[in-house]
């Protein structure tokens, strides 16, 4: 079977310095992949390379076996939806217009488009916000609009860049649970996360963790793996300690050796 998303020996340079360094990765349909790694390890660039926003200096990106560069913007939009880090626009826009705009790739009447936008809002539990202005929403409400937009685009794969940033703990958990639900509905999810513990909200066995360090994959495994601690150490460069509270396990960064 052809992988849904594929990077082959992908290199992205910033001047002379590689941000992605001959990185190869395959994501199959229906998979849940979490990308972890320290700041500057290339997590966001990995997502942007798949979307075609960060052009590759070497290597190839393929979507369902076809080179990314040969696809039209609409074809890309059918395969991948993106939740960027920068947050919703600060413009004075109605929620329904924002969500409807995510359906640009469809040739449909305005009424059909709005109907679909309302269904997406309902799915994200935000139908009551439809006629509000987005610049007057709270952080949690904005997150629901972002997720509704992802739903409205009806893409196969969701690429999310730090979706838990700027959210309170409750909304972080809700976001991850929402992703888990979409996974159950057949979506493929690739998510960049700072905090591996958020993955506790998703069934551990089905989640693949990919750890980046200096633009390369430094460790790869399952969340349920016994050597997750070792993996975290490889990725972050310092030892992690395991702590158990209730039926959850936590990994806490150990003391950093002073130089």
């Amino acid at each position: 079977m052809v992988a849904l998303l594929q990077l082959d020996q992908a290199t992205v340079l910033a001047g002379e310095i590689p941000i992605l360094d001959q990185l190869s990765l395959e994501v199959s349909e229906g998979e849940m992949v979490a990308i972890i790694g320290p700041n500057g390890s290339g997590k966001s660039t990995l997502i942007r390379a798949l979307l075609g926003l960060a052009p590759l200096d070497q290597g190839t990106a393929r979507i369902e076996g076809r080179p990314l560069t040969t696809l039209t913007a609409r074809q890309r939009a059918a395969s991948m939806a993106w939740l960027p880090q920068d947050g919703l626009s600060a413009e004075r826009l109605r929620v329904e217009d924002v969500v409807a705009a995510a359906r640009f790739r469809f040739n449909e009447t305005r009424q059909d488009c709005l109907d679909a936008a309302y269904r997406a809002l309902e799915d994200a539990g935000a139908d009551s916000l439809a006629d509000r202005w987005i610049n007057e929403l709270s952080g949690g409400e904005r997150q629901r609009i972002e997720l509704a937009s992802m739903v409205a685009q009806e893409s196969k794969c969701w690429l999310l860049d730090e979706p838990a940033n700027h959210l309170d703990p409750v909304w972080r958990a809700r976001t991850l649970k929402f992703l888990s639900r979409r996974l159950g509905q057949g979506n493929t999810v690739l998510v960049v996360l700072h905090d591996v513990h958020l993955l506790g909200h998703i069934d551990a066995a089905q989640t693949r963790v990919v750890g980046l360090r200096q633009g390369k994959i430094a460790w790869q495994g399952r969340l349920s793996d016994q050597d997750l601690g070792e993996g975290l150490e490889t990725v972050h460069g310092i030892p992690f300690e395991r702590a158990v509270a209730g039926d959850r396990e936590y990994w806490i960064p150990g003391e950093e050796p002073l130089e």
């Binding site: 979307l51 939806a81 960027p84 413009e91 705009a101 640009f104 790739r105």
Partner: protein, 320 residues
């Protein structure tokens, strides 16, 4: 269809007000007065409505395409580029057509497009900030202004005086012949910009987001800036550079109906079509002895608006 019906009353209202501005000013009862009304004031009001509509729409579109509330044809140098093109034609002379094209609007378009594309390339760079785009616009405006001043030295005093009057932005020189030259450009530019509403609806939430949602951003941006430049250039060729309409009108519209292009763009067109003839009429009555060029009025109203937007944005940033 539904959308057309929804806008129809507003279109009628806007046209009515624009035409009614012709009656503002000294009363014209006698025969001579009727002639002034029909031959001078009505064409002026009509041209004012067309120019206002295009400048306002171009302002709204450029703001969305460059993701910048301060980017308008007059702040990014489009107007200055068109002005330079027109002055160059005035200085170097030549007939009114060249290879079948009316040369004045063609030269204005060439100047406008050149400056706009330079600004677009600055704005398209990855880390271009709001300030970069505007500073580049100011630099280009100053540069083209300097060249234009130099060119003025090359022409005789009579032409120079009329060039000066023209460069203040005025609707006084307009007769029916100028209107028929302006109209096709206005129609193409407005229709083209309205046709781009769907991709603009996506672009308003960010350039990169739009790209991942299926918008061919480069194509839309080139088309949009080209259509805006075309309309602005035709206006500048007809009545000189009239500044700030593209800043004031979309700004007011945004405060009332929001920023969604599907309402912002038609509403800006209508407000512009009312705003400019009104300003022109104010210029006619404010000072009894003399007419004040409409470009002076819009600049006097627009500069404070620009100032307020800059201060507001500064505050919004520091709050973050």
């Amino acid at each position: 269809m539904k959308a057309l019906l929804r806008w129809l009353p507003w279109v009628v209202l806007a046209i009515t007000i624009a035409v009614a501005t012709a009656w503002i000013g000294p009363t014209l009862d006698d025969q001579h007065g009727q002639w002034i009304l029909h031959e001078l004031r009505l064409p002026r009001a009509l041209a004012g409505a067309m120019v206002g509509a295009v400048l306002s729409a171009a302002g709204a579109v450029v703001q969305i395409l460059l993701r910048n509330p301060l980017a308008t044809p007059s702040t990014i140098g489009t107007t200055a580029g068109a002005t330079l093109g027109v002055l160059a034609v005035l200085v170097f002379g030549s007939g009114s057509t060249w290879m079948g094209l009316p040369i004045l609007p063609a030269a204005a378009f060439a100047g406008a497009l050149l400056v706009t594309l330079i600004i677009a390339s600055v704005a398209a760079r990855d880390r271009a900030r709001t300030e970069d785009v505007l500073l580049a616009g100011i630099a280009l405006t100053l540069a083209t202004g300097a060249i234009a001043s130099g060119l003025r030295l090359g022409i005789d005093q009579v032409t120079s005086l009329s060039a000066l009057r023209w460069s203040l932005g005025s609707l006084t020189i307009i007769g029916p012949d100028r209107i028929s030259m302006l109209a096709p450009f206005v129609v193409i530019s407005l229709a083209g910009m309205l046709w781009l509403i769907r991709p603009l609806e996506v672009l308003i939430s960010g350039i990169e987001r739009a790209r991942t949602r299926g918008v061919e951003v480069t194509r839309v941006r080139t088309l949009g800036l080209g259509l805006a430049s075309l309309g602005v250039a035709a206006c500048v060729a007809t009545c000189g550079p009239i500044a700030f309409v593209g800043l004031i009108c979309p700004h007011l519209v945004k405060r009332i109906v929001g920023s969604a292009p599907r309402t912002l763009l038609p509403a800006s067109i209508l407000l512009g079509a009312v705003f400019l003839p009104l300003c022109d009429s104010i210029g006619r009555v404010i000072w009894e002895q003399r007419e004040i060029p409409v470009g002076v009025i819009t600049a006097a109203l627009g500069a404070p608006v620009l100032f307020v937007i800059v201060v507001r944005r500064g505050r919004a940033h520091s709050r973050r």
